[in-house]
Amino acid sequence: MAGRWRDLGLAALGLLLLLLVPVFGAPPAIRDFIMFGMAYGLLAMSLNLLIGYTGLVSFGHAMFFAAGAYAFGLAMQSGKFSIPGAFVLAIGFTALMALIVGAICVRLNEIYFAFLTLAFQMLFYNIILGWVSFTGGDQGLMGGIPRPKFLGIDLADRTQLYIFCSVAFVVCIAILRQVVTSPFGYTLRMIRDNQERAAFLGINVIMVKLACFVISACIAGVGGILLTLFVSGAYPNFGFWTTSGEAIFMILLGGSNVFLGPLVGTVILRLLNDITVTYTSHTELVLGIVILVLVLGLRKGPLDLLAERWENRRQAKAQAVRDAADKDAQAGRDA
């Protein structure tokens, strides 16, 4: 229970920090960096609900990122919706899509699940590319996304947009936190660790996985919406497999066993990207070498390493408790 309040407190603190950024007159580039990072951060964080918590390695998560982005962008461009309306519509659409795709995919395991999600993602990508009259094909949703005022909020203003994104982001992170610390979250861990055994405990593995798949897709969809607002457009490569790949790299660079690991990974990858882009035209070479050094040097995300240390220490304590108890018992038996 205490954990719950602590989490909420931390979320509020996080939001406050984010909101302080413009107050203290941080340059727009920093705000841009944060907004971009929040969009990708939601993608990575939501994907980690699948990969880290449930053991479902999806190669197709970007399809929901794109689904949210396109649904939102199209709704706004149609001029029939307010921003909140389009927001809800986009999430609804993403959830529906995730329900259908998930119902088919979650029946498979491991590498097969990965490839099936990849296949669906590529199908979706091909539809975006092919349905030119509706989606604009490879040119994307061009011409800008209109942002009419709602409730006195004007998202055409960068500061207000920043605040809006921050709130949406923190709410999503809080939702994810709620999910992973709830009994449902522990059910996910059971499935990740040993789904056969979970089934023998009466858990409806398929349904739980599906629910998790849909929740995570919706959060990714919010990420897509934030990105759409940022670039004022939606593009097919939001849903290309390289975007999914990037999200996976973010998770790995940060760590998949710590709640905020993927977010750290997002920051690392975005920083790496921005720095290499700024200082060299050989971005690929530099990024490749940095990844190799990180992977072969650390073998794990930095946060995972820390978490492991911490866990080892806790385990050593727990084992000491056991050994003491066992010694007592032995003494009792000998006596």
Partner: protein
């Protein structure tokens, strides 16, 4: 309580269960023995719905459960522990037990409230107490000693309050001393919960000492059944399973 009628199951060409009819009385404690590959584990798999029997019926309190999903069968009250302990490596003992218990909880609370729910914590604590696992409550399942892993496996099954509990070689891979401690725990459990308990075992000392009735499987069929004494002296059983030196202690080769 549990009745098996003419169960048959084959994998490809291999008939793992040829024709098994068995009856386990309510609240009984019985052992299943038989050579390696006799189909003992397969029988448990059939009962728990891991795969459906090709033909035959499985009656739980008179109701046929053959062909139902594992999940349904678990909910009807059959719990199971595995030959190789089947655990959740990254959960601690107390987490694992609470999580297992909550698999039974009402759904509405599942997303709203934080883990663990008070009721499941209580249930988990009871189980740890019963099995002597309280001392390892904070240890990750994967870091447990072998014996504690087997106990936790049983504990997970207990979290579902089963009416019938199936234990597949609960003492496998243990030394003599641990074996006896384990079997004492099992007996305590059986008395405390008044459930129907069936276990598979290769250690004849244990089988003949603990079980009320013994069923012998061989090549997928029932070779013999009866009290320990009846089985021990059964010529067919000696030939197929116990071997020449068998006088109830064959497994340990001890000369009594």
């Amino acid at each position: 309580m549990l009745k098996l009628e003419n169960l048959k199951k084959s994998f490809g060409g291999v008939a793992a269960t040829r024709d098994v009819t068995l009856d386990f009385a309510d609240g009984s404690l019985s052992a299943i023995i038989g050579p390696n590959g006799a189909g003992k584990t397969t029988l448990f798999n059939l009962i728990t719905g891991r795969f459906p029997p090709d033909t035959g019926r499985i009656l739980l309190a008179g109701e046929n459960i053959a062909g139902l999903s594992q999940r349904r069968i678990v909910r009807l009250g059959i719990g199971r522990a595995f030959q190789v302990a089947s655990l959740f490596p990254t959960l601690t003992v107390s987490e694992a037990l609470a999580a297992a218990a909550q698999a039974h909880q009402r759904r509405e609370t599942v997303l709203r409230s934080p883990f663990p729910l008070a009721a499941t914590t209580k249930q988990g604590d009871e189980i740890m107490e019963l099995l002597g696992l309280t001392r390892v409550a904070g240890i990750l399942s994967r870091n447990l000693s072998h014996g504690d892993q087997k106990l936790l496996d049983i504990g997970l099954a207990l979290a579902l309050d089963p009416k019938v509990l199936l234990l597949d070689e609960p003492t496998a891979g243990m030394g003599p001393e641990e074996r006896w401690r384990m079997i004492e725990t099992v007996q305590r459990l059986w008395r405390a919960r008044r459930m129907t308990l069936i276990f598979i075992e290769h250690d004849m000392d244990i089988v003949f000492k603990v079980a009320q009735t013994v069923r012998v499987l061989s090549y997928g069929s029932v070779l013999a059944e009866g009290t320990p004494d009846e089985v021990r002296t059964n010529a067919k059983v000696i030939e197929a399973y116990l071997g020449k030196s068998a006088h109830g202690t064959a497994g340990q080769g001890a000369t009594a």
